[in-house]
């Protein structure tokens, strides 16, 4: 099977996956004990208002019709509107205004995790069974076991009171920022300002970056631990393989040996970890955004769920499912490029 047919097969197989997830979401929302209309109005809603909303949501129609409406609308990207959070606003508008902060957070979370986890793991793997290896490995294990939300709580406290605790003020470090706040990303919407108005724009960018670093560190923590661990085993395995021994025997310099023969091959098992990180980010962003009160998609989801904005929740679920499926396909594609030995028959 060629790469193209393999990717085509992957794409076709992802359709039932998306349908399944969306159907489950529909089932929970429409067949669950909480009617969307009752959820929107809360416990005090009177019967007339409930009837009105049921009418507008089409809840009076036969279930199968509702189902096909729901699925059809989602697949055509007619994502409906918000009912409680921001009544009457199209869901798309809400998502567009909330998403950039989550993406900014996710971007830094991945970057931090990669930038710290992989080098540490490779270092531990190149110096196995030394004190620093044990220290790094043990640290990675504990780091991974720490609940994100707890780590976030601790970090918020430490940073906002760093002046009293350590005599070093994080809030006034480089640029003045708050710890618990949404980063202002206006500058990224209009990057031309970085040149036209450098003073203001660069300060804003620095602020946005500094604000996102602590939550990103928390969000990346779990994957950082995993990356370190896998990086270490991958390096250990490559070091002990025959071709490295051969290269050593023919006199390849240690530098070339590490960078060319060990490093590149050790990266292969890290690919699924990096994509798996995306799932962690999606779940974890809910908690981290709550603690740091970042107005992102995760916080939007929790707010929508808690306040009973079920139509919006359904839409967000659908988008998350699309995102995960998409990332899975990207991962498989990356695999076929990085490691041509990967079988196409899976």
């Amino acid at each position: 099977m060629s790469r193209a047919t393999y990717m085509l097969k992957r794409l076709v197989l992802s359709i039932p996956v998306i349908i399944f997830g969306t159907t489950v979401t529909f089932a929970i929302i429409r067949l669950g004990p909480l009617s969307p209309a009752a959820a929107i109005l809360g416990p005090k809603g009177d019967a007339r208002a409930i009837q009105q909303i049921e009418q507008r949501l089409g809840l009076n129609e036969p279930l199968w019709e509702q189902y096909f409406d729901f699925m059809g609308n989602l697949f055509l990207f007619d994502l409906g509107q918000s009912w409680v959070i921001n009544s009457g606003t199209p869901a798309v508008d809400l998502i567009i205004s909330y998403a950039p902060r989550t993406i900014w957070l996710g971007f830094w979370a991945v970057l931090i995790a990669l930038g710290i986890g992989i080098p540490l793991g490779f270092y531990a793997g190149l110096n196995p069974n030394t004190f620093s290896d044990y220290f790094a490995s043990f640290g990675g294990i504990v780091w991974r076991a720490m609940p994100n939300f707890w780590l976030a709580v601790i970090l918020v406290t430490v940073l906002s009171q760093s002046e009293q605790l350590f005599g070093f003020s994080w809030t006034s470090f480089i640029v003045e920022t708050n710890v618990v706040t949404s980063p202002n990303l206006a500058v990224l919407r209009n990057p031309a300002r970085l040149i036209t108005d450098p003073g203001q724009a660069w300060t804003n960018l620095a602020k946005a970056t500094k604000q996102i670093l602590p939550p990103a560190l928390v969000l990346g923590s779990a994957s950082m631990g995993t990356e370190m661990r896998i990086g270490r085993t991958a390096v250990l395995e490559t070091i002990n393989s025959k071709y490295v021994e051969t290269a050593k025997a023919k006199g390849v310099s240690p530098r070339v040996l590490v960078w060319k023969h060990i490093f590149r091959n050790a990266l292969i098992p890290l690919v699924p970890v990096i994509t798996a990180e995306a799932f962690i980010l999606i779940g974890g962003s809910v908690l981290v955004e709550t603690v740091f009160s970042i107005n992102g998609i995760g916080l939007l989801f929790v707010k929508a769920a808690k306040q009973g904005d079920l139509p919006l929740v359904g839409t967000l679920m659908y988008l998350f499912i699309l995102l995960i499926v998409g990332l899975n396909i990207v991962q498989d594609f990356a695999y076929t490029i990085i490691d041509p030995r990967v079988g196409y028959d899976a």
């Binding site: 991974r144 601790i154 929790v302 679920m317």
Partner: protein, 486 residues
Amino acid sequence: MMETEPTEDIDQPLRDRLKAHPGPALLWGAILCVLLLLEGPTYLDGLLGAIGAGLGLLPGAPGAEAFASASAYFGELPHLLSRELIPNRGYYDGSAWQGTFLGLEPKYAWLIRFLLVYAYVAVLLGWLWYGYVLFRRHYRAADWTPTDDVIDRLRSHYWGLFGLAVVVFFVTMAAFAPVIGPTTAEENIEGPYSYDMQYYNEDTETVETVTIGEANLGSASRGSGDSNVGVWSYDDFGRFHPVGTLVSGKDLFTFLAFGARLSLFIGLGSMAIAGFIATTLALVTAYYKGAADLIVVLTSDSVQAMPALLLVILATVVFQNHWISELYNGAMLFILLFALIRWPGLWRAIRGPALQVGEQEWVDAAKSYGQRPTVIMRKHMAPYILGYLLVYASLTLGGVIISVSALSFIGLGINAPTPEWGRAINIGQQYVASQSWHISLIPGLLITLVVTGFNALSDGIRDAIDPQSEGAEGGAAGAAAGGGGG
């Protein structure tokens, strides 16, 4: 071992071997009985109570009352590890402690009971292990089995043993929650205003009576000023708090012990169901392959493509007023949800070993003997994959514990006043840098410790059953376990 008579027939059933040489077994059994009887009423109380609660769910609740009253009866009987035998609550009347164990300070009385619980569990486990050694020495037909090697490898795997110790610590805390805390959940957490306590008022120099709720108001930990009862300290009412109090003045240790019970219950329950689904499907797909395999691959892919934590949040909201949320304060709903969400991960992890064992000659042999497929799967394939299941279930269990506490942290799922670790972290959020730091930090450290413990145990079992496997596999599972976590 050579102690067994060489003439002994290998095919002799265990019962005959026991009969031929009953000495060690009888002695061992007798001491085990004594150990169990020391705590017998507790076990019967728990067992009958659970049956009663189970029957109570059935329509009409047949016999539920009888079981409940029987359970209450056994709950009253004296036993070794009880607050009645070693009471830690009393008051200081100016010269000596009244009402505590041997007139000791509440601190030491509690500590003795706490240590006794762990000593009892240690002795019980040690005795069970000794039973296995006896079985190996005197009653097992074979001199050696592959299991011996697995156990030997686990015994010298210190990281795994550390995990085992943490898990035992946690399970004991959960199992003996009513005894191990300095006070009980009913009195201190659920209905503090329905119970009275006595204390010594130093100003009037008299013994006075207050409700526990009023006393709690005076023992609150609120960060600033006088109102803090920290780690290892007494409050104004002569009550001892090993890890301090909550913002509401309730005892944190008792809260944690009952929270451990809930977390363990959810973790074990969901893993039992998910493990059962995963094993069944792994066996069926490895045996039949083809279409069965494809269907399960697609289903598990679909389940895994749903954002787990968000799905749970949605389900908790939708089911919040449903009767299923009433079962054990919502723990039942969590068990079902996590079982349904986590089985694909387990199935993926044991699919490889299942396919491997499906290719073995002994499976072919059993087939050609005409054995039924269900028997082949159960007898000839299942034992091989159970070890792997244990490895990944232990990893996933840690993830479930984190997820549950994450949800109660954002105020979903397990509702107050039922203790849940995540809620304690949420309550103490604003006091982390104050003198009341214990409210948030100790539950968080405990979660980290327990999850690390389960991960370490999983590493230990993996290296024991499959010494060559140390590599990418474990890492992938690690990613999966962290996946739904918070």
